[in-house]
């Protein structure tokens, strides 16, 4: 008796595209803010040309990136949360930390600016103004570097976690882009990294209201995963990528990357 599966067999066979042997691959967990900046679209093709290396990006929050590194599911991570990075290294999960570049966090909010953030004197002052006027604020509310930064800013501003009333404080529990979408929909204030904001396509009635406080400095660092814990990790490739990332070509590309004429990142890697 003929079985009715012949069609499926044929279709599956036709659709199975054999992946031919090609360039080496490396998996790197990066933060949503780095990816949303669009810089990776510029760097990856050049890396492919120079090193014949396919860099596969897993785009997640800093917290999840660190967890992927701990589990050995990626070969290296690129994140921006100093404290979490230090804990990661202290646990022996990474070989070392290499500074690559920085940008800064910015306060985004509605054009009407009910909390008058445009006149804020510091990041703490900006946070206090939002709290004082109980203006809508959209928070990442996930385990990301940006969220950790936001929490530290609330602490620095003397606002206790209990004071973040759900009447005006909205934890999105989502990536940077999704949180900007929430803020755009609610006309809320939001803390974002500059790159994600500039590359965001749904700005609505939002605009950049405050930036420039040194505490809003946002350092990105590269950490190869420790091969002693995970022997399968491609350490050679991870180090080759690191050498490229701190090299003159990367410096030139990063230093010249602009959106709407604005510089996004400042290269500050130290070459040996």
């Amino acid at each position: 008796m003929k079985l009715p599966f012949n069609f499926w067999h044929a279709t599956v066979a036709a659709l199975f595209i054999a992946t031919s042997a090609q360039a080496a691959e490396i998996k790197v967990a990066v933060t949503t803010s780095f990816y949303n900046s669009g810089l990776s679209d510029l760097l990856l093709p050049v890396i492919k040309d120079d090193l014949d290396l396919d860099v596969q990006l897993i785009v997640v929050g800093t917290g999840q990136a660190l967890r992927l590194g701990k589990a050995g599911d990626v070969d290296a991570i690129l994140v921006h949360s100093r404290k979490a990075e230090d804990t990661f290294l202290a646990g022996g999960f990474g070989t070392h930390r290499r500074k690559i570049m920085y940008n800064d966090f910015v306060f985004i909010g509605p054009v009407s600016d009910p909390a008058v953030l445009a006149k804020a004197s510091s990041a703490s002052d900006a946070m206090q103004r939002i709290k004082a006027t109980a203006s809508s604020f959209a928070s990442r509310g996930d385990d990301s570097g940006t969220y950790k930064k936001e929490l530290s800013l609330w602490v620095a501003a003397g606002v206790a976690a209990d004071d973040l009333s759900t009447n005006w404080y909205h934890a999105a529990g989502a990536g940077m882009g999704a949180t900007l979408n929430v803020a755009s929909g609610m006309n809320a204030y939001v803390l974002s990294d500059r790159a994600s904001w500039l590359n965001f396509g749904n700005k609505g009635d939002l605009e950049l209201l405050y930036a420039g406080d040194p505490t809003l400095f946002n350092q990105y660092a590269y950490i190869p995963v420790n091969p002693e814990l995970h022997p399968h990790v491609k350490t050679d490739l991870a180090l080759a990528l690191e050498t490229w990332l701190v090299g003159p070509k990367a410096e030139e590309l990063i230093a010249n990357y602009r959106i709407n004429g604005e510089l996004l990142f400042t290269f500050n890697a130290v070459r040996n």
């Binding site: 599966f5 050995g72 599911d73 990536g175 749904n202 995970h230």
Partner: protein
């Protein structure tokens, strides 16, 4: 509204220019989903028939569980498959995480209960008709399953297509186990999620329209090949 109309334009533009990234994404979507549905059908269809012709102690419980699993939350399946395939999980040595294979595994788990449940329902009705005949012919269990699957094939297409529908539109599980890696594990649904998160609503909408078009095309193709809706064969 603006994003919807520009989304339509965007969809046409992408299709007409045969954007190479788009073609790659569509092919991977089809590769993952069709493979997953094929595997799930190979398990689910015989399982549905087997449950019809066999009487055993926990039959009702088994069927209830299978029915309940139709509503499995994809995110939970994704997390489960992730934990299994992670380097620190039991199947970590295989190195399957963040590959299309991982996405297929997740989708098989999501879709199999749906296909088994619907085929069980379909074949049960057929069994009521065939019961006396097959018993009097003294057909073995394997023969009964074969006959029921073959004679119920048209109705079973619905089970398979329902599985296809759930798999092609699924995003929660494949985002976790596939990682949405450009040129490696990026499919239509994860692209839509990504573009939405970047605030590129028109582009995301365009991809959504393409997803629906692909789904309709696949359904139409299967109905044509299996010659349903024709007078001589209905």
């Amino acid at each position: 509204m603006d994003s919807i109309s520009t989304g339509l334009m965007e969809a046409f533009r992408l299709i007409l220019t045969l954007d190479s990234d788009l073609v790659e994404i569509v092919l991977l979507s089809l590769q993952v989903t069709v493979t997953a549905v094929a595997i799930a059908s190979l398990i689910g269809l015989p399982l549905g028939a087997w449950l019809v012709v066999n009487r055993f102690r926990f039959r009702r419980l088994t069927i209830s569980v299978l029915n309940a699993l139709m509503g499995l939350p994809p995110v939970v399946v994704g997390l489960f498959v992730y934990l299994m395939l992670s380097r620190s999980g039991p199947f970590g040595v295989l190195g399957l995480l963040f590959t299309p294979t991982a996405m297929i595994i997740a989708q098989v788990i999501i879709v199999m209960p749906l296909i088994a449940s619907i085929s069980h329902q379909t074949i049960r009705d057929l069994w009521a008709e065939y019961h006396d005949l097959l018993i009097s012919l003294n057909a073995s269990h394997a023969q009964r399953i074969k006959v029921l699957l073959w004679d119920g094939r048209r109705a079973l297409i619905t089970a398979v297509l329902a599985g296809f529908g759930r798999a092609i539109g699924e995003v929660g599980a494949i985002m976790i186990v596939g990682g949405n890696i450009d040129h490696a594990t990026r499919v239509l649904t994860t692209s839509i999620a990504l573009e939405t998160s970047k605030g590129n609503f028109a582009f995301a909408m365009g991809l959504g329209i393409i997803l629906i078009t692909v789904a309709i095309a696949v359904n139409l193709a299967i109905h044509t090949i299996s010659k349903t809706e024709r007078a001589s064969t209905w």
